[in-house]
Amino acid sequence: MFSVIIYGRNDTHGYNLHKRAAISFNALAEVMSDPDDEILFVDYNTPDDHPTFPEAIHDTLTEKAKKVLRILRIRPEQHAHLKSKTHLVALEAQSRNVALRRSNPRNRWVLYTNTDMLLVSRTEGESLSDILGSIPDGFYQIPRFELPEMLWEAAFDRRDPAGNLAKLRDWSVRYHLNQVVHNFMPMKYDALGDFQAALREDMFAIHGFDESMLLGWHCDSNLAARLALYRGRVDTLIDKVFGYHCDHTRVAAANNKGRQTRMNDQDQYIWNVSTPYVPEQAENWGWPDVEIEEVRLDRETSYQRFTAGLDAALKPATVPYTSTSLEWFLYDDLTYDIDHTLPFVADQMLTYPRSTSVMIVGTRGEFVERFLTAWRAMGFTGPVLVPNECEGLPSDLEGEERGAFEDLLPRAEMFIFEFGLATQHADEPVRIGRQAGPLDTKRLKVVAKLFRQATSTEAETRPPGRRTPRRFVGVNVIYNRFWPLFTDYVGANINPFCSQVLAGLPRVDPSLRGKVLRFRGRRAL
């Protein structure tokens, strides 16, 4: 019957976002009763190494919410062409249009709202699907009622949407919450963007939201103006549904700078609107030709993929624990435990697109083999690229592609540099003061050289059309002699030694030292 379209990103937009969003996701799912109903959450521009916002809070969502939720992930790379045109990190019109394009075509209605809304049908037990199924074609809005922060934060249980809706029925009377704020036509009510129900067919006919609105605010009013023209009438559903907004004004959201807030021009986008259509975007609204990843919380979750990968690559431990040490005299010992390290390497990968191509430059054949097993089992489809310059690594693994480093460089979307000892055996004890032999030194020199070259030339060797920098994962680069090398070239956090792994984007160090390092790296000195 209807597709709810909402958007956001894995950040901290306003106060206690995680709680209000969980309350809202669960409450929206609660009022759905048609098998075709869905919540489309567009996760816009969350950093690639983070999970999407709903994934980050999945444990607070009900089974029903997980079932109806479809997450459409727009990557930073897909936002890059708009970055210079806006101060915002999440774009409403683009998000909502990407969802609309991909919404269930069997649904008659699209409901635009936000991740802090609860909808309460006035007839207890009546679902929003029933309500929308019973009303004539049109464009419907409802007034928004505010819910003080104390009430939703202190009294709501995220995973009890029915209980929360019942509380709202009670509070609305006890605390006089229901005040309708009328507005100029065509807006009809204040804060109209929290409930705009339009026919899916109408939204396609008018080319969705206006994607030239890049500065935030008034996207809802623009839609109201255009749908008011198109439909001739702005209808109300106040007799059927009340909408409550979890107030979040303790902390201003990123797009709210008081009177200094930059916003889309009201005159242009509301009062001088003269047509419902946006002909400039008639063919390309909602990015029809862009492949958008879809993430589900009820199947093939990140956790399921992660464990599938590790289960394929690892056997369970046979001892309660193993040990290693940070003592200074072990600084030059580059032995490490692959079984223990692999989960932390896999952890760096999971949030990236499945089609990612990753380059591994390393020394230990066993690491490459085990990583590749995990990579495939985690559902990645992109190739694992291994440069010919890395001698001694297996070359006949399924999914592995060998080639000259220079040729592979513009194909790689992520890098793993592994600094181990080529001569380390699987059953060898770790960090007991072992020195690198001549073969180890020779292989490590190659890895270090290719690492410097890859990080120093990253910007100019990106795959064609790519605008965002690629990620470098360093394996066995904590508290050993490759730690300074890795962090000279990559902006990595300080991580605990136990994880063995650092990761980040190439550093752009403007100091003389940084310039010298880059010069050396580029020329492979």
């Binding site: 100029f184 036509m185 023209l229 001739g232 009438r233 509301i270 009062w271 609107v273 003269s274």
Partner: protein, 372 residues
């Protein structure tokens, strides 16, 4: 009484006072009922819900199909705590708005709307009191007037928009539509020519120009515009079906009509038109398509299937548009056995029908084809 007198005097003199930008004129629900509505909504805002409800009920008594007044009464009842009665009023308003036949889907979006838009006219007039220099309130009110079948008032709003925004092709296209609705097809063509020169791929403007051309008897030009429109629709079934029907292209209309019969069971006209196309193509009719209710469309379907006589259906046709619809179907039914009788029915469609009717264009094309 004063209002009634002043209104009839103006009507008697055949003049309409020049409308100020933010002046409100009553529309399709009648002056008295709409004035009561206006007063009731103002009183309601001031907190006098009781008087407001009394005035609204008077207005509804005068104009029982006044859906905005019914909805306003619903709002007043809701705020007074009578939720059940309020809910019934809201439902009644929705049913009333659905009752009429919607405009043809190939036409400008404004003309796809139906019925009186009093609340919109009042609301945008209020906006115009403070925002006189912007396009939207003028256009939105003009559209409401146009949907309310007051094209002269709509035209005034569109012209004011054009004064503020002389390059607005949207306002110019609407001006063309308003002129056309007033029967001023020549000036309508002038406006629409300009729009299409600047936006040759505007399907709604092409449709409007086709109608103006057809009204002036320019059958070839009209068909040229509609063929272009058809190509621009990208197979959108509802609009494509109507354009093909205007062209009397039954073969072209058929797949779109079949799609619409499947997709939109609420509108019996899809079945009616599908059956018309099949009849004209000499193909068998589906068995299960008769809608058994008291609607006008059911009468036409009954006529089509021989279950109602010409005189019965013509007796039910209470408007020129309905008479034209019935005569068109009589022509379709007669065509296989008596082409001259069919031609005579279709000629009557052209004589009495509005040029915007799909039956008018189809009849003209049928006549032109049989003459050639």
């Amino acid at each position: 009484m004063l209002l009634r007198l002043s209104g009839s005097l103006r009507e008697a003199l055949g003049t309409r006072r020049r409308q100020a930008v933010d002046e409100w004129f009553p529309g399709g629900n009648g002056a008295e009922a709409e004035h009561l509505f206006l007063r009731a909504t103002a009183l309601f805002r001031t907190g006098d819900g009781e008087t407001a409800m009394r005035l609204l009920r008077q207005a509804i008594e005068m104009a029982p199909a006044f859906s905005d007044a019914i909805e306003a009464e619903g709002e007043a009842l809701d705020m007074s705590g009578d939720t059940a009665a309020a809910s019934a009023k809201y439902e009644q308003a929705r049913r009333l708005r659905q009752a009429g036949r919607p405009g043809a889907p190939d036409r400008h979006f404004v003309l796809r709307q139906q019925g009186a838009h009093t609340a919109e006219i009042v609301a945008y007039t209020r906006v115009l009191k403070s925002l006189k220099k912007f396009a939207l309130p003028h256009l939105a009110r003009g559209n409401a007037y146009l949907a309310d079948r007051q094209p002269d008032l709509a035209l005034a709003d569109y012209e004011r928009t054009l004064k503020l925004h002389p390059n607005s092709l949207d306002a110019l296209a609407l001006k063309g539509e308003a002129l056309s609705a007033m029967g001023k097809y020549g000036p309508a063509l002038e406006a629409l020519d300009k729009v299409i020169a600047a936006r040759p791929k505007d399907p709604e403007a092409l449709n409007a120009r086709g109608i103006a051309h057809m009204a002036l008897g320019h059958v070839e030009q009209a068909n040229g515009d509609w063929r272009q429109q058809f190509a621009l629709l990208g197979g959108r079934p509802a609009a494509s079906a109507y354009v093909a029907m205007r062209l009397a292209d039954h073969e072209g209309a058929l797949p779109h009509l079949e799609t619409m019969v499947r997709n939109d069971r609420r509108d019996p006209y899809w079945t009616l038109y599908l059956r018309s196309a099949l009849l004209r193509l000499g193909r068998p009719l589906p068995a299960d398509s008769i809608v058994d209710d008291n609607s006008w469309a059911s009468s036409l379907l009954a006529l089509q299937s021989g279950k109602a006589s010409e005189s019965e259906v013509m007796a039910r046709a209470d408007s020129a548009a309905r008479r034209a619809e019935a005569l068109f179907q009589l022509g379709v039914a007669a065509h296989a056995r008596d082409r001259s009788a069919a031609g005579s029915y279709w000629q009557q469609v052209v004589d009495i029908g509005l040029p915007s009717l799909v039956e008018y264009a189809a009849a003209r094309n049928e006549l032109a084809r049989s003459a050639s």
